[in-house]
């Protein structure tokens, strides 16, 4: 069963779709070779769509984004921004300055200061939001129908204060319900869809065998074409190549270093042991142990698989007897709190991250200081007073 879907795309839209698919890792060259006028390729598009549907759980993501907000949401994700939503790759243009030969460092200091102050204002606003949220939760405790939650959310409280807004909220809830019902229907029919996709793939495989000899030649040029339609593709591929090269060289260096260090270390340990026998042993041993534990913590944290860390949105729930806890989204509220995370746990993790980042900062500052001292030594009559 074959049918063609006819759409009218603009050149820009086609390029954007190709770039986005490439970003998500779709590497079927036939798609990228499609003409930019949208005249052909409905089957390739269908394949790409199905791939995306499965790959990034497209429908689930859309549903999550369209949820009616309770206002109590917070994110506990501490990852650096790797979300596909923020397609980075645009570089800011440096502001016009009229100064030939670069920007005055004092202007950069000025901008840095502004950034710091803006961060502080944001911090204060955030604290205010927390305080007010706490007030809402505290004052509405015991009022909620759901015994486990126990208090109103921001949206519910707002509704109580301004009842005439109920129409809008009702509309939103109705539309969300419709979407969820449609999704349920889809889930029931889903196996049929994938069966159909299998037949499409089978058909393509048959056709593909006949054209393989032609494709082989053109395949090599597939990626560069993509690179031209994707502004950040060049830099990314270059970076990936550089990374792999760096990794291999690093591995060799590391191996050499470790063998050398081990030998030197054994020597050091022997001499130190003798020294320590004379001095007090236990205090130094404890200090050494502490610093080693810290370093180990740092390393394990750095190498921690990302799944162990928490992601996604959570809803803040206030608990009187126990410290405030959070409940994961996307679960139905049942008798026992599902996937709840206590605030103390999150705080502890954040404190660990903060401590390790501070250590890293101190290390970098020390390195900077040493570099500055070296530079200052080279200059005559210059004394470097580091902060």
């Amino acid at each position: 069963m074959l049918f063609s879907i006819v759409f009218f795309f603009s050149d820009n839209q086609i390029r954007f779709v190709k770039a986005a698919l490439w970003y998500y890792g779709y590497d079927r060259p036939e798609l990228y070779r499609l003409p930019s006028d949208g005249s052909a390729g409905s089957r390739e598009l269908l394949l790409a769509f199905s791939w995306l549907l499965h790959r990034i759980s497209l429908l689930e993501q859309l549903l999550a984004r369209n949820r009616v907000k309770t206002g109590d949401e917070t994110s506990v994700c501490t990852c650096e921004d790797g979300l596909p939503n923020s397609l980075k790759g645009t570089t800011e243009k440096a502001p016009e300055h009229g100064l030939e030969g670069g920007v005055d460092v004092r202007y950069l200091q000025w901008l840095n200061g502004r950034l710091r102050f803006q961060w502080r204002s944001l911090h204060a606003q955030h604290e205010e939001q927390c305080k007010l949220l706490h007030k809402i939760h505290l004052f509405t405790s015991g009022s909620h129908v759901d015994q486990i939650l126990g208090h109103f959310s921001v949206t519910e409280t707002d509704l109580v204060r301004q009842p005439e807004n109920y129409k809008q909220l009702l509309q939103l809830l109705e539309s969300e319900t419709m979407q969820l019902e449609a999704f349920l229907e889809w889930k029931q029919l889903e196996p049929v869809y994938w069966q159909w996709m299998e037949t499409v793939l089978d058909n393509m495989a048959e056709e593909g065998n006949t054209c393989e000899s032609q494709d082989a030649r053109v395949e090599g040029s597939g990626l560069p074409k993509v690179a031209s339609c994707c502004p950040w593709a060049d830099s990314l591929t270059g970076q990936i190549d550089k990374l792999s090269r760096d990794l291999t060289t690093l591995r060799e260096q590391l191996h050499k270093l470790t063998t050398r260090r081990k030998a030197a270390w054994c020597e050091k340990v022997k001499t130190r042991e003798e020294e320590l026998q004379k001095e007090g042993f236990s205090a130094t041993a404890r200090k050494i142990q502490e610093s080693v534990e810290l370093k180990l913590l740092d390393l394990t944290y750095l190498c921690a698989p990302p799944q162990k860390r928490m992601h996604g949105s959570h809803r803040l729930v206030f608990r009187n007897k126990h410290p405030a806890s959070k409940m994961g989204f996307g679960r139905s509220v049942s008798k026992e709190p599902v996937s709840a995370v206590s605030a103390t746990e999150v705080i502890r993790e954040l404190q660990m991250t903060e401590a390790s980042l501070e250590r890293e900062l101190k290390q970098l500052q020390e390195e900077c200081r040493q570099r500055l001292d070296e530079v200052a030594e080279g200059l005559d009559g210059v004394i470097c007073i580091s902060p």
């Binding site: 100064l99 004092r106 200061g113 204002s121 911090h123 204060a124 205010e128």
Partner: protein, 453 residues
């Protein structure tokens, strides 16, 4: 967005009281010259900023009062309560039973650490009362003895306890011919310590305010109360609510943050001066009218010529011509007496403020070479008049306003230090000669930064 005021020493407490007075009387003034709705937003914004209305009929000032002796504090508390319009929180003050001598080192090294916990507890309590802490505003004199030493120490503690908050220090610059013989030492020590912890130092010079009282306000016998009232009026004109964005719909809720971001992002340039125009006795207000172009022209010349008030402005001083040559890094090409600015903030209050033309302040020749007017100049406005002035323009300027006074004070202090005069008063409480040298170095750095604008 609430500001917690910390009133330090006799000077700080007296000025603080006048500031709250000025703000309160302005808010209760029904002649705001604007719509009722505007007046109400103004009042609500002001109340959120300075007062707490939780459990009393009268607004309670968000303030902590600190002094070494009880007299001034009890006077301040009772005067406020008697006004009937506002009061201080009864528990929010700290003082000692007996005074402790006029000694900076004593205040900084002895009294400070001794009473740190009590004072910081009071501050913490005030901070927690705020839904949103907008920062701290401290008021103190620079050259007094124990008050300034203690003030410098308390500022440090504030910075340590609230690293993410905005911290603005209001300092009173002493009379050039003041009575305290070691006032220059005190000034140097205070300034250098404040520079480290504070975000910005807003300065009022006693000499200048005295002249304003004499020449503009026509006061014959000038008392400290007159001086404090002028200062309070000027501070009120800066900190009362305004719209900080063009076409903003709400009064800004982040006054200290906005101030810091527009004027002091650069860590070397933290000295702020304040000018007001017009300034006159209250009973003359009804008989005077002004035009905005005239006011702006005068204000601009006050900035350029470093005039302390609107009389006696030197109109000969002109901005340098920025020709087609590359802007020089050294200011040798600038005419003498020309006051170069890092950044300026003009605040307009009253009738027709939306139509005022401030283009003359955006002249690039007013500013240092590495900052263009887009970044360096900002203006805040409100149609709501302040303190019965139909039109009022204030200028908060990060410029060379205080370069000469600073140079003066440091020079005199250095001369005294060279002969080690009176140093024992400080060393006996733990301020060593090295600390003096550090302070001198820090201030020389500030002087050099401002000189090379």
């Amino acid at each position: 967005m609430s500001i917690v005021t910390v009133q330090l020493g006799q000077c700080g407490n007296q000025i603080g009281h006048e500031v709250f007075n000025a703000i309160c009387s302005d808010v209760h003034d029904t002649h705001g010259l604007c719509s009722k709705k505007e007046n109400e937003s103004y009042r609500d914004a002001c109340k959120e900023r300075f007062f707490c209305e939780e459990q009393s009929e009268v607004p309670v000032a968000r303030a902590v009062l600190v002094d070494m002796e009880p007299k001034v504090i009890s006077q301040t508390l009772s005067m406020a309560a008697r006004s009937g319009y506002w009061k201080y929180d009864d528990g929010s003050h700290f003082c000692q039973k007996q005074g402790s001598g006029n000694n900076w080192a004593n205040g900084y090294s002895v009294h400070g650490p001794r009473h740190k916990e009590v004072i910081m507890n009071l501050v913490q309590k005030e901070a927690e009362k705020c839904d949103r802490l907008g920062g701290f505003f401290t008021i103190m004199s620079m050259a007094g003895g124990t008050g300034s030493g203690l003030g410098a120490f308390v500022t440090q503690c504030l910075r340590d306890a609230f690293p993410a908050s905005f911290l603005l220090n209001h300092v009173i610059w002493p009379y050039g011919t003041g009575e305290v013989i070691v006032q220059n030492y005190n000034s140097v020590l205070t300034l250098s310590h404040l520079y480290k912890s504070s975000d910005a130092l807003l300065v009022h010079e006693n000499d200048v305010v005295h002249k304003i009282c004499a020449q503009l306000m026509n006061i014959k016998q000038i008392s400290f109360r007159d001086i404090n009232q002028v200062i309070a009026h000027q501070l009120g004109s800066v900190f009362q609510p305004t719209y900080t964005a063009e076409g903003g719909l709400h009064y800004s809720r982040n006054p200290l943050g906005d101030l810091m971001e527009t004027l002091v992002p650069h860590p070397e340039f933290k000295m702020l001066g304040l000018r007001n125009i017009p300034q006159m006795p209250e009973n003359s207000l009804a008989y005077s009218t002004f035009s905005w172009p005239g006011l702006i022209k005068h204000l601009r010349q006050m900035l350029i010529a470093n005039a302390k008030m609107e009389e006696g402005i030197d109109w000969q001083v002109r901005p340098p011509c920025l020709g087609s040559s590359i802007p020089s890094r050294h200011s040798t090409k600038k005419p003498l007496h020309f006051n170069t600015s890092v950044a300026n903030l003009v605040i307009l209050r009253g009738k027709d403020t939306h139509s005022v033309d401030l283009g003359s302040f955006r002249d690039p020749s007013l500013y240092t070479s590495w900052l263009n007017p887009k970044d360096a100049f900002h203006s805040w406005k409100t149609l709501r008049a302040f303190n019965k002035y139909e039109k009022l323009a204030s200028l908060v300027s990060n410029s060379q306003f205080l370069l000469k006074p600073l140079d003066n004070v440091v020079g005199k202090a250095w001369n005294m230090f060279a002969s080690k005069a009176y140093i024992h008063q400080y060393t006996k409480f733990g301020i060593e000669e090295e600390d003096f040298l550090d302070s001198f170095t820090a201030l020389e750095q500030v002087i050099s930064s401002y000189t090379s604008l």
